[in-house]
Symmetry: C2
C-alpha cells in the first residue's frame, strides 16, 4: 500500500532510494532515522551535502574532485609529473593514495568504455589525457582500471593509443589478494596469478 | 590518509556515515555519486529531507508519524477502535499495514525496554497507551513487538500491566517463516513453532 506514507515522507524515501547502494528498505530506514533525529542534525547533513556539491568541481588537469582549479595532488610540487596513473573515478585516486606507494600524478577518465551503455572514448577524458603527455613530459602511464570487461576494454584501447607515442604503458599486477586463501580464489584470478608469477625473492 | 579529501567533502562523508546502515565505504560511494549528480537533483534530495523533517510530527493519539494532529489511521472512521496493535516504531506500522490483515488502530511505543541502554517504561509511550483504553473502549491489545530480548521484556511488562484492566492481551504467532526451509530454521524459531503448533485445517 503506497498510502502507508504521507506525501512528503514518500518524496524523501524516493529521493533516498535513488542513492547508490540504498534500496527501498534502507531508504525507509534512513527516512525514519531522519524523522526521529534532532532537526539541527538533519540540517547539518543537508547543509554538508549542499556545501560539498557547491564547492567541489573537477581538477582542470586531471579531473579528480577538487575545491580549487588544480587538485591538491596536481598542485603538489613534490609529485613526479612524469608518471600518470589513469583511473576511472575519483574514488580510485583515494584508494591508490591510501597505499602510499605512488608519488606521481593521476588522470581520471570519469568512466570506462561501455558499448552496452553507449559510453565511448569520446565520452571520457581520453583526449585530455593525450594532451598532457607533451607538456608534462610523461614517461610512464599506469593503467589502473577496474579488473572487469569495461576496464579491460578501456585499457586495451588506451594502450593502443599510447604506445605509438613512445610512452611506457603498464598496468596493475593481477593475482591473489593479500590475505586471501588460494582455495577460495576464483579460477580467473588464479589463472592470472599463475601467468603473472614471479621469481621468489623479487 | 585523511588528507585524501577536501574539508567540505570530508564533512559530507562524515555526515552520511552517521546514517543507519551506511558505513564509511557506502558514505564515500554516495558522496561521489552526489558530486557527479546534477546540482538540481542534489537539491531535490536535500529539500525532500528538510521538507519531510519539517512537516512530519507524531500523531497525538498513537505516536505514529503524521503530517496532521491525528495520523491517517487514527482519523479513519472505518478503523476498529476496540483493537490496538502496540508496536515499537512507526516502521512496524508500515509493515503491518502492508499485510492488509489488521483493521484496528496502532500505538507506537517509540522504542522498547532496554536496561542496558537505560531505556525504561517511563521513556516509552506506555502511560499514553493506558490512557487510551477507557475513552476508546479498547477490548484487545495485540503486542507486536520485535522477537528479541528487548521486545520480549517489553511484552511481558505490558502484559502484566494490561491484564488487570480486563483487556484481552495477545501477541503475534511465532513459527516458521512462510517459504522458509525447516532445515535452515534456527532452533529457537523451530522450538516456538513446535510449542505453537495448530490442528491441521485450522
Amino acid at each position: 500500500m503506497a498510502s502507508a506514507y504521507s506525501r512528503s515522507m514518500q518524496a524523501m524515501i524516493d529521493a533516498l532510494a535513488r542513492l547508490p547502494g540504498v534500496g527501498p528498505k534502507s531508504a525507509q530506514r534512513i527516512a525514519f532515522h531522519l524523522l526521529k533525529s534532532e532537526r539541527e542534525d538533519v540540517l547539518k547533513l543537508t547543509k554538508a551535502i549542499e556545501e560539498a556539491r557547491g564547492s567541489v568541481r573537477f581538477c582542470e588537469r586531471c579531473f579528480n574532485f577538487s575545491e580549487t582549479a588544480l587538485c591538491h595532488i596536481c598542485s603538489d610540487e613534490r609529485r613526479d609529473a612524469s608518471t600518470i596513473c589513469v583511473v576511472e573515478e575519483s574514488r580510485d585516486v583515494v584508494a591508490l593514495e591510501k597505499t602510499g606507494q605512488f608519488r606521481g600524478r593521476y588522470h581520471v577518465l570519469l568512466g570506462a568504455i561501455n558499448p552496452l551503455e553507449g559510453t565511448g572514448p569520446e565520452h571520457l577524458k581520453v583526449r585530455e589525457m593525450l594532451l598532457r603527455i607533451e607538456p608534462e613530459q610523461v614517461k610512464e602511464i599506469i593503467l589502473c582500471l577496474n579488473p572487469n570487461t569495461e576496464g579491460d576494454v578501456t585499457a586495451m584501447y588506451l594502450a593502443r593509443l599510447l604506445k605509438p607515442l613512445g610512452v611506457r604503458v603498464t598496468q596493475l599486477a593481477m593475482g591473489l589478494p593479500v590475505g586471501g586463501d588460494l582455495e577460495y580464489a576464483d579460477e580467473v584470478t588464479l589463472g592470472r596469478a599463475l601467468v603473472g608469477r614471479r621469481e621468489v625473492g623479487d
